[in-house]
Every structure is written in C-alpha cells, then in structure tokens.
C-alpha cells in the first residue's frame, strides 16, 4: 500500500536489538519516525544500517560498510525512498555492492576475479552474519517442544 508519509510513532522500541544490530544512535523525529542506526560485524567489516520505524512500517534509509581496522568507508549504499526494511533486503544490497566493488578494484589493479565465486563467498558470509543466530534460535525452540 502506498501512502503519504509520515507515520506517527511514540514508542521507542528496541528495533535494532530485535534485528540483531548493536544500537549506535537513535532519534525520534517530530514526524514520529524513530530513526535508529545499528551496526553488525562481518569478518573485519562493519555494516551500519539506518532504519526508520513508524507505526505498521519500518523503512530502510541507508547502509554504510566500513573497514573495522581503520574505519575507512568501503561502501555507501543509497537506498531509494519507501523501501521496507528486512534483513534479506540488506543482504541483497550489501552483497551486490561488495561484489561490484571487488570486481572494479580488481579490474583497476589488473587482476582477474571470478565474479560468481566471489558472489557465492560473500553471500555465505552475509548469510552467516545475518541469519546464523536465527537458525540456532529456531532449533532451540523446536528442540524444547519436541519437534526435533
């Protein structure tokens, strides 16, 4: 459903914690949107996700990828307006950006990189980073109820 924004939200939920992000900053805008920036680590990289939480909708505002060692900005992903937040959406965006960066950097340095192999490797790393905890959690739940 498309609509005129903004949505009003007076709650200050632990959205980042919920999504497995470590909360870095939050701001409750006069519009009612609760803006939060959260970080997660990916093998020497830091992924910063900016989300806006309204009532009945959560939007992804932007993603930045930093090098953990020296805080260098590796990638900045501008997300178009009205993109609903989900972890899979972030994985797709980050994966595409990192592979493109890697291939471009390699080309400039006159290396050759197998794009498909790089994509598979990055997707595996991202999948573990975003969804490993969920997988463990659901198995614990299933085990406690005798499903498995």
């Amino acid at each position: 459903m498309n609509n005129n924004l903004p949505a009003i939200n007076n709650t200050n939920s632990d959205l980042c914690g919920n999504y497995g992000l470590e909360l870095q900053a939050s701001y409750l805008a006069p519009s009612g949107f609760n803006y939060q920036a959260g970080v997660r680590e990916l093998d020497g990289l830091i992924i910063v996700e900016a989300v806006a939480e309204g009532v009945g909708c959560t939007y992804l505002c932007g993603i930045r990828v930093l090098n953990k060692a020296d805080n260098t900005l590796v990638a900045e992903i501008n997300v178009p307006r009205n993109v609903h937040y989900s972890r899979q959406k972030c994985v797709d965006l980050v994966s595409k950006e990192l592979v493109d960066l890697l291939v471009n950097a390699a080309t400039k340095g006159q290396y050759w990189i197998d794009r498909e192999a790089a994509l598979r490797k990055i997707n595996t790393l991202l999948d573990n980073c975003y969804f490993e905890q969920s997988r463990k959690s659901i198995l614990i739940w299933a085990e406690s109820l005798g499903i498995i």
């Binding site: 459903m1 498309n2 609509n3 005129n4 924004l5 949505a7 009003i8 939200n9 007076n10 709650t11 200050n12 939920s13 632990d14 959205l15 914690g17 919920n18 999504y19 497995g20 009612g32 309204g54 009532v55 009945g56 909708c57 959560t58 609903h84 937040y85 989900s86 972890r87 899979q88 959406k89 905890q133 969920s134 997988r135 463990k136 959690s137 659901i138 198995l139 614990i140 739940w141 299933a142 406690s144 109820l145 005798g146 499903i147 498995i148």
Partner: protein
C-alpha cells in the same frame, strides 16, 4: 497488564507495552493506530504462541487491509527468527498463520540440514502447524500469561 507481562513485550522488542491493547474481536494485542493523510490506518498486531511472538505490520486502506510486514521472535532468547516485508499483500489472519507455519517449518528444516541433521518435513510441518494453530486459537491474554510464567520466571 501486569509488570511481568509488560516485561514480556520488552523481551520481544517493544519498549512501551502500554500502547498495546487486547482486542477481543481480533484476539490479538494491537498498537494504537495512525491514520495517514491518504486515509490509510496503520497499526501493529501481536500474537503469542508457545515460545514465539508473531508481530505483524498492518495497514487498512479504503477497501482492503494489507499485511506490510511480519516478524517472528523467540521469546526465550529474544532472537528474531524471521522477518519479511510485503508489498500489496492482502491481510487475513489465516494468511498470517499459514505464513508463520510455512516459514518456521522451512527455517527448522534449513537449519537442521546445515547442521547435518535430516528431518522428515511432513512430521515437522504437522507439529509446527499444531503449535501455531493452537496458539492463535487460544485467548491471547492466556497465551501472554502462559509465556510470561514460562519464560520470565526470575
């Protein structure tokens, strides 16, 4: 709501449980709604089943009601087990239940397979369906209380 029950809302990522009220008609806990300039009303709904909380983002338009997002949280360890957003997906309680059953089943099967465990998909699906359907059918005030007693003993 009692203090402990409010704590359970916090456990699943909602800081202000006071914004949620039980609706007897929907048998769910619904947040205060917001009506946009376009006239669409948005709110969040929560259902509790054994050990899991299901959070839905719902939007009511002029003619249709839409499911904009769905999250499933494990109450015990506060971990988000599933999240998705939808565009132009019609809302019905049946659709929410079916999606939860499908996603939880596939997540269990996928997680088990990654750990080298082979499960019978039919058996898992039947058990998951029974837990989810029973949880949604029970009075949600009872389910809130039940999960509070079970997971917030301290």
């Amino acid at each position: 709501m009692q203090n402990k029950e409010i704590q359970l809302f916090q456990q699943v990522g909602i800081a202000k449980a006071g914004n949620y009220n039980y609706s007897e008609i929907a048998n769910s806990f619904n947040s205060t709604g917001y009506t946009s300039l376009a006239g669409n009303t948005y709110f969040n709904s929560i259902w509790f089943v054994e050990g899991l909380a299901v959070l839905a983002d719902i939007g009511i338009g002029h003619t249709w009601t839409f499911l904009n997002g769905l999250k499933i949280v494990n109450i015990q360890d506060k971990k988000l087990v599933f999240d998705s957003s939808y565009h132009c997906r019609y809302y019905s309680k049946h659709a929410v239940i079916s999606t939860v059953v499908e996603k939880v089943t596939s997540l269990i099967l996928e997680s088990a397979a990654k750990g080298g465990l082979c499960l019978n998909p039919l058996h898992v699906e039947q058990k998951v369906r029974s837990i989810i359907v029973n949880g949604f059918a029970k009075d949600q005030r009872y389910m809130l209380n039940y999960n509070t007693q079970k997971f917030l003993k301290a």
